[in-house]
């Protein structure tokens, strides 16, 4: 048999490993090409046009390259490992290492070329799909017409040529380092030579937990005014990132291994089949496990964090439009409102109106404020806020010397630490009226043209008539009433909105909930898109890395399954053990990743939107589900392996 025949033979036998490798390549290339195509697409200009937008896209593309590189490096490492026996064999029959390296490089080159062709094609199709989706969610009405971008093509080529170079270099050193014997043994070697866990290791574990806690702690204090300057903030973020990632690694390396060893030692060698398949298998590969689990945790945390933040902004858009505009349409000018109503009548669109008189007062709320964040834009002893009568709002009951605040958005609440009740003082032109603030209502009463995001005070009818003469004229706006028009049939809002648009009025602010919501979504459409794209890319990457790892381990452990089945352990026995292992491999990085991302989101979410819990939990649940999909896939893979083992 000539060497060429041998190579072809081996290629046939390794075909499954090639599938995986090519999949990883095509996936990465498609992902990257899709992103770059979008980046250079002129249709995206309204979105990416701004300087800030461009910077964001650049930063995102760098992050994407990093992730793709890590992914391909991992795939390559697995690929090489799977073939180590083959390389050993080649050397045994007298091939030099240089020759093997050349063969591997040429083969890789071919794989890269083919994958580039396929990947770019897929990426192109995907980017078109994405543009269409993007236009949909941002409400831009345009037909997605995408041209093949040469610039994107060259950039993709360049990036993957560099990755190819790096991987070739790594392969070169890998082959040079290995002896024939070690090539034959790669798959059965335990990575966990240390039998006794040293104090050193426990120290590592503790240090890891300390670092993670420190990162969490600092992230919680990030916007509390301790790190005021922008540079300080940036430094803090870097610190948090570094300490949490390093901490996670040490945590896995030290604590997890330590706990595992302790458990194993307690068993005194008396392991049941579950523990054989989970505990001992995990510890057997602890070194590479620690690294990989860290990568997956970090990537997951980033993905969940990014997706949460992006969804927070999307979700908040709706909510803040709802808050900002108390009715479907809100006017401050009676004349315009009347003509709007006439138009509605003409088209037979049913509606209800609600008129609210609004006065502006300074209110001393210093009793309620618990934070003294420097960046507060108002003076708590003189918060200028609109005051309305409970009668006009219809829904709230307020006693005579009491006042109810409408709930403000979460940003202000978070920054000020505003309490739910306490004494406030209404400061008129020549009187001070102390009132008891009893509760926050989540009612939205008036147009945000009055409140600018601050709460609105609702007082009793009597109080309102008492103070109506005493307000400070310098505080008042040129308009003093809110006219809300609520459309009865939601299907007709669109039509009403067209009418609304035709009634522009420069002098008096007027708002349409629908238009407001759209504007907000469009505004952050790009940020959302970038972040969402990256988040999904991270999700798929971390899922793939885990799945590959499971396939690899499964392949390594196939002989074990055979032995166990010969000894009489049933498929069910083995599968239960596999479940334990999956729970560890998928569960632990997911849990730690969720925890990390919770702190990431917690520390900066208010820069993105006004709602925290609902969107974050939705993202977390969806992420967990999608991620579990990979767990289930690899479980099925194991099931097939075990089924075939005997």
């Amino acid at each position: 048999m000539s060497i060429n025949q041998l190579i072809v033979r081996n290629l046939k036998k390794n075909i499954k490993n090639y599938y995986l490798y090519v999949f990883a390549l095509v996936f990465s290339i498609a992902l990257y090409f899709a992103f770059v195509t979008l980046q250079y697409d002129p249709e995206m200009d309204p979105a990416t046009g701004s300087l800030r937008g461009e910077a964001a896209v650049r930063a995102a593309s760098v992050l994407l390259i990093a992730i793709v590189t890590i992914f391909l490096l991992y795939a390559n490492q697995l690929f090489m490992k799977r073939r180590s026996k083959e390389f050993g064999l080649f050397q045994l029959i007298g091939m030099t290492k240089g020759r093997i390296f050349r063969i591997v490089s040429i083969e890789n080159f071919l794989l890269y070329t083919c994958s580039l062709a396929v990947g770019i094609f897929i990426g192109f199709a995907v980017s078109k799909l994405i543009t269409m989706t993007l236009f949909r969610i941002t409400g831009v009405e345009s037909v997605a017409e995408l041209n093949f971008s040469l610039q994107a093509f060259w950039q993709t080529l360049l990036v993957f040529a560099v990755i190819y170079g790096v991987i070739s270099l790594i392969n070169y050193f890998y082959l040079r380092k290995q002896s024939i014997l070690s090539l034959f043994q790669v798959q059965t070697k335990t990575e966990d030579k240390v039998k006794k866990v040293s104090w050193f290791e426990i120290g590592y574990g503790i240090l890891g937990i300390v670092l993670i806690s420190a990162g969490y702690y600092v992230s919680g204090r990030m916007f509390s005014g301790d790190f005021a300057s922008i540079n300080g903030l940036f430094g803090t973020m870097l610190f948090i990132l570094a300490s949490v990632i390093l901490g996670t690694y040490l945590f896995y390396k030290g604590s997890v291994r330590w706990a595992g060893h302790l458990l194993r030692k307690k068993k005194q060698g008396y392991l049941n089949v579950n523990e054989v398949l989970s505990l001992s298998s995990v510890l057997f590969r602890m070194k590479s496990n620690a690294f990989l689990l860290t990568v997956i945790t970090t990537v997951s945390a980033l993905a969940i964090g990014l997706l949460s933040l992006s969804y927070i902004s999307y979700y908040s858009a709706e909510k803040s439009a709802e808050r900002g505009v108390a009715a479907d349409f809100a006017f401050t000018d009676e004349e315009t409102a009347t003509s709007f109503q006439e138009n509605l009548d003409e088209r037979q669109i049913g509606y209800e109106t609600n008129q609210v008189d609004v006065l502006i007062f300074d209110v001393n709320v210093s009793n309620l404020i618990t934070n003294d964040f420097e960046a507060l834009t108002f003076d708590p002893t003189q918060m200028t806020m609109p005051v309305v009568s409970a009668k006009d709002t219809g829904a709230v009951d307020v006693a005579e010397n009491e006042v109810v605040f409408t709930e403000t958005n979460d940003i202000i609440k978070k920054l000020t630490g505003m309490k739910d009740s306490g004494e406030v003082v209404l400061e008129g032109e020549n009187f001070n009226l102390p009132l008891e603030m009893t509760s926050m209502s989540d009612l939205s009463v008036i147009n945000s043209a009055f409140s600018f995001g601050l709460p609105t005070a609702i007082v009793s009818e009597k109080t309102f008539s008492q103070i109506s003469d005493g307000s400070d004229p310098s505080l008042q706006r040129p308009y003093d009433q809110h006219i809300g028009v609520e459309i009865t049939d939601a299907n007709q809002i669109e039509e009403a909105n067209t009418i609304f648009k035709s009634l522009e009025n420069d002098q008096y602010p007027q708002m349409s909930k629908l238009a407001d919501e759209r504007a907000q979504k469009q505004n952050m459409g790009l940020a959302m898109f970038i972040v969402g794209f990256l988040g999904l890319a991270f999700l798929v990457t971390s899922g793939c890395v885990l799945y590959f790892k499971q396939m690899d381990e499964g392949e390594d452990e196939k002989p074990s399954y055979e032995i166990l089945r010969k000894l009489g352990f049933t498929k069910g026995d083995l599968l239960r053990g596999i479940q334990g292992k999956q729970a560890f491999n998928f569960g632990i990085p997911l849990l730690v990743g969720l925890l990390h991302s919770y702190f990431v989101v917690q520390s900066g979410w208010f820069l993105f939107g006004t709602e925290l819990w609902t969107p974050m939990l939705i993202v977390m649940v969806i992420y967990t589900l999608l991620y579990s999909l990979f767990g289930i896939l690899s479980f099925f893979y194991y099931r097939k392996l075990i089924h075939r083992a005997l």
Partner: protein, 253 residues
């Protein structure tokens, strides 16, 4: 009492075109408490026979009855449970789990019989002591020698005190001292606990520990030798002679 009975066992590998008949009609009975060895040239189908007898592999035709239960045709899960509880194996390729230490490998079959840990550990200590592998208890299989692997594999087959032990060349990688230790251990299990043992071997010395030797050629039973009342030495000579005829080699004994 007959513990194992095989009728007209046929086993062939490959598909219609590459078909290879390995077992061609083997009839065999083993009494409870017997110590039987199976001999034959390399490739004659000894391992295959052990595999089908122990339900690890399925026969193409024929039946295997163990303790009056028909094994052929039973559900996979059912068979596995039976192996787990009643059979012990020493495989030709050792078949140790790479991820477990020697001790963990040996204790593995005990995890399903609910016996207290203290008792399990005591059994391990004494077995490992007898087989001379106590000092490598915490090593991984790829850190020990072939002979040590073989003894580990044997210890794993003995620890749950199974009623039938299948041993495929259990002394193949051992020096004569460790080989006779292992064979003595087998004999002891056979005599004291009346465990039934079926052992494949190439070594006439090992075979002479048995009460009966079955010779296999071309997938059929060629002949059988019974030890009867003769001494081990005389039995050994008999085996040598038969083996010589079988292999066509003349021995100068």
């Amino acid at each position: 009492m007959v513990i194992l009975e095989a009728n007209k066992l046929y086993k062939s590998y490959g598909n219609r075109f590459t078909k290879q008949d390995v077992l061609r009609g083997i009839d065999l009975t083993i009494e409870k408490g017997e110590f039987v060895s199976i001999m034959g040239a390399s490739g004659s189908g000894k391992t295959t026979l052990l595999n089908v007898l122990s339900s690890i592999d399925r026969v193409s035709r024929g039946t295997v009855v163990i303790e009056n239960t028909e094994m052929t045709g039973r559900k996979e899960k059912n068979l596995a449970e039976f192996r787990k509880n009643h059979l012990g194996f020493i495989f030709q390729e050792y078949n140790l789990l790479d991820t477990l230490t020697v001790k963990e490998n040996i204790l593995l079959p005990l995890s399903i019989v609910k016996i207290p840990k203290r008792e399990a550990l005591a059994r391990f200590e004494s077995l490992a002591e007898e087989l001379g592998i106590l000092d490598i208890a915490d090593k991984y299989p790829n850190e020990i020698s072939g002979g040590q692997k073989q003894r580990t594999s044997a210890a794993r087959a003995f620890i749950h005190e199974p009623s039938i032990i299948f041993a495929d060349e259990p002394t193949g990688a051992l020096d004569s001292k460790s080989a006779s230790d292992l064979l003595n251990k087998l004999s002891e299990l056979n005599e004291k606990r009346s465990a039934t043992i079926a052992m494949v071997t190439h070594d006439p010395v090992a075979a002479s520990y048995c009460s009966r030797v079955i010779f296999i050629q071309d997938g059929r039973i060629y002949t059988q030798l019974n030890k009867g009342d003769q001494s081990r030495q005389a039995f050994f000579q008999d085996i040598m002679k038969t083996q010589g005829v079988l292999g066509g080699i003349q021995n100068e004994y």
